[in-house]
Each structure stands twice: as C-alpha cells, then as structure tokens.
C-alpha cells in the first residue's frame, strides 16, 4: 500500500475539525442531546491505523469512536445526523454518538461497555479465518479497558487460535479520572501481551507515521497467519472524559505539554520541511474540511426526526 502523507494529514484534520464542531454544538446549542465524548489530541491513532485498512477490514470501536469511523471512510453527514438523533443517521437515531455502527464501511460495532468490544473482535477475526478471507479486524480500546476481564479472555483466545486481529490500545493517560499509575502497576500496557504469547509493541501514538508503520506490520502478521498483535499507542486526551468533565484531575502544565506534541502540527511541520506541503495548500485542505463539516451539520439540521413509534422497529428480524 502506498503511503500518502497528505491523506494522513487530511484525515487527522478532518477528525479534529469534526469533533471541535461537536464540542461547540454540544456546549453552545440544543442540537446535541446527551453525552459528548471526543478524541482531541489522539487523532493520529485513528488516522494512522485507518490508513492501513482495506474496505473489507473490520473495526470494532468504543465510546471515543468518531475518529475511527471517519478514518474508515464513514460519511460525516450520516455520523452527524446520528449524533443529532435524526432519522437519516447511520442508525436512524437509535445509537446517538455513543454506539454508531456503520456496516457500510465495516465498522461493525461501537460499544460503550468498557472492554466489551474486545471479545467481539475475536469473533469477527474468527469469521475471517474460518472463511479464509484476507481481511483483519482492528479493535480500539483504552488503557482502562485493559483492566477488564474481557480483555484477558479475548487476547488469550485470539492468540491461541492465531486470529487476524490487531488490538489497538489507546493509552491516553486517563481512565475516567484515574491516571494510569492509579489503575495499574504496569508501566506499558503492551507488556500484558507477554501473558498471552503475542507481540506487544509500544508506539508513539502522536506520531502518525509510526502509528501507520506499526499497524502495517501487525496487519502483515495477521495476514501471514501468525496471529494477533497488541499495540499500545501512547497518547493523551486534551479534554476530559466527556465535554462535561471539569478536568480537575488533569494538571494544566501536562495538557500544555501534550498540546506541544500535537499529532497534526507534527506531521504538518514534517511535510512543510520535506517540501510536500505549502501554506496555501494547507489552507485549502482546511477550507475543504471545514466546508464538509458545515455541510454535515446542515444535513443533520435539515433531516427529519424519527417518529416516536419508530422506536419499536429493528429489534427482531
């Protein structure tokens, strides 16, 4: 697969601007109802991993999912409409921001039960293996999820059966309000792979090129039948757990430090230095993305609400 660094930049920027809009709408308007959870600062993980995936590859996501969806090619309009609770959304308003499934792009499950998606990823990977298909599953979860029993059961089984799954642990330093030191004695969550006889790799999750390389290597390992890899992406969530989190537990200096490690600014600087990107070209990219976000908002805004009784549909076939 040929790496297009400009596409990586575009992908990260799309996630950033999309989620900035979500935060703004959530805080300042009545358009978005309920919880809002964004991944600002962590975009390189979604974009870098997403760039190695083919349409047939599967993503199992979690409560911080917008980046994963966009990086897999989900339609921003349908995501926005779902978050608005409109009938035109990916899931007709039944999921909202927290559980969006986009089977059209093989994001087959977004679960907010922490660690709940990890055994499901074993199942989707098993199906690829069973049908001898050349595709992989990526399961995204946080550092906190690796404390769940489901993580351990799933990694053990995936490794035992050499299944084509990449366990992408986004260590964003906080599990709720707990710092990593407060919820585990393990310094690197990737070390937990040792217990299951699979490779565990620590990667700078704010360096999208390293994210991409690591995911490509793990994918090749999956496709050669050697089995799963656990990759710990060390990153940081600039915001709180959700937009209503006051972040009392997050030191301001720490946030400022990580903002200097912004994955978008890092790649942008590299591309300008390499002469691949000019300021004008960057501005054009910004404009296109902002316009697409505005179009998504307009689409969601103008879309019809579901009828109350539509709630009774889609339970059984």
């Amino acid at each position: 697969m040929h790496l297009n660094k400009l596409n990586l930049l575009r992908s990260m920027l799309q996630i950033r601007r999309f989620e900035e809009k979500l935060e703004q709408l959530s805080r300042e308007t009545e358009k978005i109802y309920g919880m809002m959870i964004v991944s600002t600062g962590q975009e390189a993980v979604a974009s870098g991993v997403g760039a190695v995936l083919d349409p047939a590859d599967v993503i199992i996501s979690n409560h911080r999912s917008h980046g994963h969806l966009l990086a897999k090619g989900a339609d921003p309009k349908l995501i926005m409409a779902e978050i608005f609770g409109k009938a035109t959304g990916y899931n007709k308003g039944k999921s909202g921001t927290l559980h969006i499934a986009a089977p059209e792009v093989n994001v087959l499950c977004t679960t907010t039960v922490v660690g709940g998606g990890i055994p499901i990823a074993v199942g989707t990977a098993f199906a690829s293996h069973y049908k001898q298909q050349k595709n992989v599953t990526v399961c995204f979860f946080g550092d906190g999820a690796s404390d769940e029993g489901s993580f351990h059961e799933a990694l053990n089984l995936a490794s035992l059966w050499n299944l084509p799954v990449i366990f992408a642990c986004e260590n964003n330093v906080y599990s709720g309000a707990q710092r990593v030191e407060e919820h585990s004695k393990v310094k690197n969550f990737a070390d937990r792979a040792i217990a299951y006889g699979m490779p565990g790799i620590v990667v700078d999750g704010n360096n999208v090129l390293e994210v991409y390389q690591s995911a490509m290597k793990a994918k090749e390992r999956c496709l050669s039948g050697e089995g799963p890899t656990l990759i710990e992406y060390k990153t940081y969530r600039w915001g709180g757990h959700s937009t209503h989190d006051q972040q009392s537990y997050q030191p301001q200096e720490e946030i400022e430090l990580w903002k200097k490690l912004c994955p978008i600014e890092q790649l942008k600087a590299t591309l300008i230095k390499e002469g691949v990107l000019g300021q004008e070209q960057y501005q054009q990219m910004e404009n296109e993305i902002k316009q697409a976000v505005e179009e998504a908002v307009k689409f969601a805004d103008e879309s019809p609400w579901p009828q109350p009784e539509d709630a009774m549909e889609d339970i059984y076939i």
């Binding site: 039944k94 087959l108 499950c109 990823a121 989707t124 059961e153 035992l160 889609d314 059984y316």
Partner: protein, 326 residues
C-alpha cells in the same frame, strides 16, 4: 421412530444443521474432547465428524465464548456456542445482554446476529447452586433475544434447527435431567417454529402452563388427576420469547383456572409474567386465583433431600391444582 434423550436429539439437530450449512460451527468448553465421554451428551462425536475447525474447544472463558458468537455472527457465520452450566452464563451475560440483544437495534436494523447460545441447566444433578440455577427470566426480560426451553427431545430437535436458522440471537436452554430420559423423536428433518406453545394434553378444568423439565412433572400430575376425574390442560410454552399469549389466554378462558409451574425460583420468575398476562387479559374468565408452583426463593441446596425439596414435584402440582378447584 427412534428413542433419544434430549442430549441426543440436540446432537442430531446440530449434526444435521452442520451438514446442511457450512457457516454453522460449534464452540464451548469441553464440547470436542470433554471430561465426560458419554454418547448421550449433546456434542459427543461432533469433533470426530467435523474436525477442529468447526468444533472449537475453547478455554474456560465464557465472555470470550459469547463474544466469539457475537462477532462471528455479524460476519455471516451461524455460531452455536455452549455455556456449560446456567450459572456460568453470568460471566457471558455482558456479551449476551448488552451486545447480542442490542447490537441489531443499535445498528438501526442494518446488522444481524444469527447466533445460538446453548445453556445447560437444571437442579437434580447434585452439583449445588453454582452449577444449578435456572435463569431464564433474566434473558426473557431482554428485548432482542429469543428464549427457547424444550421439554421433550422431539421438541428440542425441531426447535434447535429453527433456532440455528433464525437470524436473531437465540438462547436455547436444555435441562440436563432430560439428557437421561429417552423419548420418541421423529427421524426426518423437521423444524418447529419459535413462538407457538404446544398443548401437550388437552383438558377442561384447569390450565397448567409450564416449560422445560417441569413439563414431565405436569403431565404426570395431570395423569393422576385424570383418574380422579379432574381434567387438566397442559400448555408447554417451549419458547418464552416470543411468548404465545393466544394459546395461554384461549386455554384459560376455556378452563377458568391457571396454575403456572416452573423450576426457577419464585420471585421475579417468568411465572409472574404469565400470571400478569392472564390478570390483564382474562381476569373476568378466571374462576379462582392464579396459582404458582415454583422452587422456593433459595439457592439450590446440595444434599439430596434438600435438593429434591427444592424441585417442584407431582404432589406440589396436584395439591396446587386441588387448591384452586375449590
């Protein structure tokens, strides 16, 4: 007609469905090479016939087993996974209750999860309360699941085949005592729809609604009462979800009396749902209060006299029926 135990009938259904559809696979703890090398058990011999790619012995990991089924089914396979004992279901319950039951709804009807979770259940095996605990009310309470509890081997075969072919997640609960009682089972390939109850014995004076192993208890009690001139109609629900309200209501409207019989404990048990249904929709036809015969609200005790005390028996049913005949 062949005589099979419920376990053997389940095995026949599994085998025939695996031959019919290569997307069907089975997985669970000890289902290939088990500690009990007993041909009466439901998965005995499948590994030898279908091989390790389709008969997956798993580690002792109930959450992973259930997650395997959820993930494999959304990709188009038809997993039939086994939870060895009903109490162990609690470890798999996140996958079943939060995921299998809800993910189709959360997808807005775009995805489907055609999986079957077979759960072995029932008291009377001397294994105590962490191996014996009927939890069907837990799953019947969750929209998105279908819940099947056969009371005969013949029903088990036809219902399991339908469950495997169904595009919804199905919880299929097998009472282990029925694995040791051979009964006639048709040899041909047949299915039984999920939903309709079956009137196992028609009668006029009182309706007994029951399911699973308690069907036998109900029929034995009904046979004895028949000799005393009391005509009992025995309605075997077979599936708790979907629930065949019409058959229950029609029978109660005819007899005017209802006794609900289940092995699960009383409080919050599914019998309460049947009683409420009849109270809402057939109250005026009732000639007597609704009666529930269930296990008492205690864990399943180990010692045989206490364990037998726990399981509702014929005498309990006979006395219960007489108490509402007035």
């Amino acid at each position: 007609m062949q005589n099979l135990t419920l376990g053997e009938a389940v095995k026949q259904a599994l085998r025939e469905e695996m031959l019919r559809d290569e997307n069907v696979f089975v997985a669970g703890e000890g289902i290939g090479v088990g500690i009990h090398n007993n041909p009466k058990l439901p998965t005995h011999g499948l590994l030898e016939e279908f091989g390790p790619e389709r008969v997956k012995d798993t580690p002792v990991s109930e959450a992973a087993i259930a997650g395997l089924a959820v993930g494999a089914s959304v990709m188009g396979l038809r997993p039939v996974v086994e939870i060895m004992f009903n109490p162990f279901f609690t470890i798999a319950s996140d996958q079943i209750i939060n995921h299998a039951a809800k993910l189709r709804y959360l997808s807005g009807g775009k995805s489907k999860f055609p999986l079957v979770v077979r759960i072995k259940t029932g008291a009377g095996i001397g294994a105590g309360c962490q191996h014996s605990h009927n939890l069907e009310a837990w799953v019947a309470h969750c929209p998105g699941l279908k819940v099947v509890m056969p009371g005969t081997p013949a029903d088990a075969k036809g219902l399991l085949k339908t469950a495997i072919r169904d595009d919804n997640p199905v919880i299929f609960i097998e009472d282990m005592i029925l694995n040791f009682i051979p009964m006639p089972v048709p040899e041909e390939d047949y299915t039984i729809p999920l939903g309709p109850a079956d009137i196992k014995k028609p009668g006029d004076d009182v309706t007994v609604v029951t399911w699973s192993k308690m069907l036998g208890t109900a029929l034995n009690a009904a046979g004895k009462l028949e000799q005393q001139g009391i005509s009992v109609e025995v309605v075997d629900l077979r599936t708790l979800a979907p629930l065949d309200e019409d058959t229950i209501l029609k029978s109660v409207r005819k007899t005017g009396r209802l006794l609900v019989l289940h092995e699960a404990t009383r409080t919050g048990g599914f019998g309460g749902e049947i009683a409420a249904l009849v109270a809402e929709k057939a109250f005026n036809q009732l000639k007597a209060p609704v009666k529930r015969i269930t296990a008492p609200d205690i864990p399943v005790p180990y010692s045989k006299p206490m364990e037998q005390f726990y399981i509702p028996n014929e005498d309990n049913v006979i006395n219960g029926i007489k108490s509402i005949l007035g």
